[in-house]
Amino acid sequence: MTARLEAVTGRYAHLELEGRPHRLYFEEAGEGIPLLCLHTAGSDGRQFRAVLNDPAITRHYRVVAFDMPWHGKSSPPAGWEKEDYRLGTHAYTGLVMTVARELGLARPVVMGCSIGGRIVLNLALEHARALRALVGLQSAAYVERYYESAWLNHAEVHGGQACGGIAYGLTSPLSPEEHRWETVWHYMQGGPGIFTGDLHFYQVDGDLRGRIGAIDTGVCPLYLLTGEYDYSASPRDTEAAAARIRGAKVTVMKGLGHFPMSEHPEAFLGYLRPVLDEIRAATR
């Protein structure tokens, strides 16, 4: 065999979510502290390909990135053809904690981006003691609706191209073209209505503004890293959230957009490695 193989392995897990059986795809690499990665709305775990392939991280961390149900290579539950997909705060929180438990990730670090960066705030509120640390990428306590997401799931609009059009603009003009367009490709592959269903959590159900003041970073450290070119969860939105959370550590990532780990892996790793080193040193 002459092909260069990555150290990343992909497997399927069978588990129950909200009382229904699911077949869930996840990738992992490395050994050590569990680091569970949550992808953005309408995309999948491939966004974390560079984190999974970074020896400086996998030397100390067991990195796990799963595709949410209905996303990537995870199947929707049986009967999906009779229902609309719609993500809510309770189900999303349960999903993350169930995956961590069922995959045997003891007191993991959870890192999520966008909707993942939002749910990290809810995990800090509800499950701080079960988690080693939290890393929110592009975190905001709430983002008001500024466009009509129903157009992304419409018979006379190509969903893949429209979702790609949204994602393209959320990348930074300074990120490498190759990785910007790979990020767009993931969005173009989303199932019909899935991005829209995730945005229900992002723009409607998941308003955490009134609650985040109760987060105790003394129990579970919270790091918030936001790309400066993100206009959906902008640095200003992250800083507004952090202003209500005592001890939250904010980093604005120069030149990066809404998908830092996917659109500019190298620059993102430069920001992530010191955070993971700090978490490792503090929780040794």
Binding site: Y147, E148, H154, V157, G169, L170, L174, E228, Y231
Partner: protein, 131 residues
């Protein structure tokens, strides 16, 4: 900042045919588009007619009783920032302008959304002319 006197925001739109039509990487995203849409730069109006992904014509107003499928309206200063070679954060994408409240979309939103990626790439093309 745009300093070149020849590079007023509106005149950049008039050069879209040469910027877009030779770029297959942009044309392919609009290959099913056959529409006329309006772009307003302050009080200047431009009608862009697209045929199979190529900019067939750019007409400068003012217009009387002309039809268009959708319109994209923003102030002159807004477009100037949007068309900088490397636009600043928050000025780099049509939807970034939308969240700021600095751009308005009117008309048939369905058509705009169907060709969103193409329209974004077309309207970003003048950045290649920026000093």
């Amino acid at each position: 900042m745009i300093r070149d006197a020849d590079w007023a925001p509106g005149s950049a739109l008039e050069r879209l045919p040469e910027l877009v039509n030779a770029d297959e990487g942009v044309v392919r995203w609009g290959r099913h588009m056959n529409e006329t849409f309006m772009v307003e730069v302050g009080d200047e109006q431009y009608l862009l007619t697209v045929r199979a992904g190529r900019i067939e014509s750019v007409a400068k107003g003012p217009f009387v009783m002309r039809s268009w499928r959708f319109a994209i309206r923003a102030e002159r200063e807004c477009w100037a920032k949007f068309w900088e070679k490397v636009p600043a954060p928050g000025w780099h994408d049509l939807f970034a302008l939308l969240r700021r409240g600095d751009v308005a979309f009117e008309g048939d939103q369905r058509v705009l959304m169907a060709y969103l990626l193409y329209v974004k790439l077309v309207l970003a093309a003048p950045r290649r002319l920026a000093p």
